[in-house]
Symmetry: C2
DNA sequence: CACACTAACGCAAATATTTTGCTTTAATGC
DNA sequence: GCATTAAAGCAAAATATTTGCGTTAGTGTG
């Protein structure tokens, strides 16, 4: 994750790991409780049973900690569902992704990952997406289908969604993105 | 701009306006000087000849102030150049936009607008883009050309660029986005 | 133009957060 | 085990943020 790295023999075992888990969990608990005013380094530290200075030294700031937690939340917990066809796989995946990301907590996650000025965490999210797509593509190839490239999927479907989440007040329904998907799959010319 | 709004008779004249200008200028000056560590509310206040509490009361936090300043910076200072054709107008505009946004300060601007949790500022940026596009479209229509819709331009060109700026470590050269543009203009099928 | 009204600023005390130096705890390698 | 030292704890110091209250100066009215 995005924690400050040391050169000397790092020591990731035991206590360090426990602190990491406790702090991340504390963040999630406080986030779940609502009250964004309660979400401060001292509060998180208290909830995690840890000293504030520990958090400052390991994560640097609340924003970086939140960025780490958000990146962790955004890691997919399972393979994309197999529906039997490329189009079905992508539609199902897209439905879940749109729902997750355009929700209030979803938008917050996106903002948080970007917030920490920690390019690695943002890049990680992109990597997660690529991996999901690659597994869908692999299945498609195994079926004899010819899937679009990952870059095309990112440019034509993910990017428009994220752009709207970040820069506009309302995000379209899934149908809008399903349409973008079909344009890609059918090699349609751009809608004018 | 994103400053806290009051219901009672607002008082935007004279002193308030001067403070606003002084504070924004102070932020720009400190940003220009580099040293991100120097960029704190007390420092900005000192540079602007103002009390910190003034900034806290008007802007709430450094992040919101930076968001306002970034939104202001992102406001286009002129009409898009007229090159005589739709494709030329869009290519020229795109060249400048890619150069501006993928630079180090450009990326910082994007992060800053989004940073303040101030959806209005982000939405403003999208509006600026729409306006630029609309003026290019109007010229195209006057020439008898048929320009793509604003949404298509945002989805197919701007969104991929912003996505890469925010989520990946390297942003492609202009040529990449010129290609996306030509795909849109020529109604080409998606590249596989 | 003088005057009342009050939004927005300044000032300074009260809080809260962040940094830092030093001590203690406990992983890791031998 | 035992030495070594990364990472945590603790507490004082430094900074940043909030808040109450007095002052300044836009704004509307007579």
């Amino acid at each position: 994750m995005g924690e400050a790295r040391q050169r000397g023999g790092a020591r990731p075992g035991g206590r360090s790991a426990r602190v990491q888990v406790a702090v991340h969990r504390a963040v999630r608990e406080l986030q779940a409780k609502g009250e964004p005013g309660e979400l401060t380094v001292p509060t998180v530290a208290a909830q995690a049973g840890v000293t504030p200075s520990t958090i400052y030294r390991r994560w640097g700031s609340l924003a970086q900690l939140l960025s780490d937690v958000a990146a962790e939340k955004l890691r997919p917990d399972s393979e994309p569902e197999d529906t039997g066809s490329l189009r079905g796989d992508l539609r199902t995946w897209l439905e879940q992704y749109v729902e997750e990301m355009s929700s209030q907590p979803g938008r917050a996650m996106v903002r948080d990952v970007l917030g920490g000025n920690q390019p690695e965490n943002a890049a990680l999210c992109s990597t997660y997406l690529r991996q999901q797509f690659e597994s869908i593509q692999a299945r498609a190839l195994a079926r004899g289908e010819t899937p679009p490239s990952t870059d095309v999927l990112l440019d034509r479907i993910v990017a428009p969604m994220i752009y709207r989440i970040l820069f506009t007040s309302s995000v379209p329904e899934v149908e809008y993105f399903w349409r973008l998907l079909d344009d890609v799959l059918e090699g349609k010319p751009a809608a004018q």
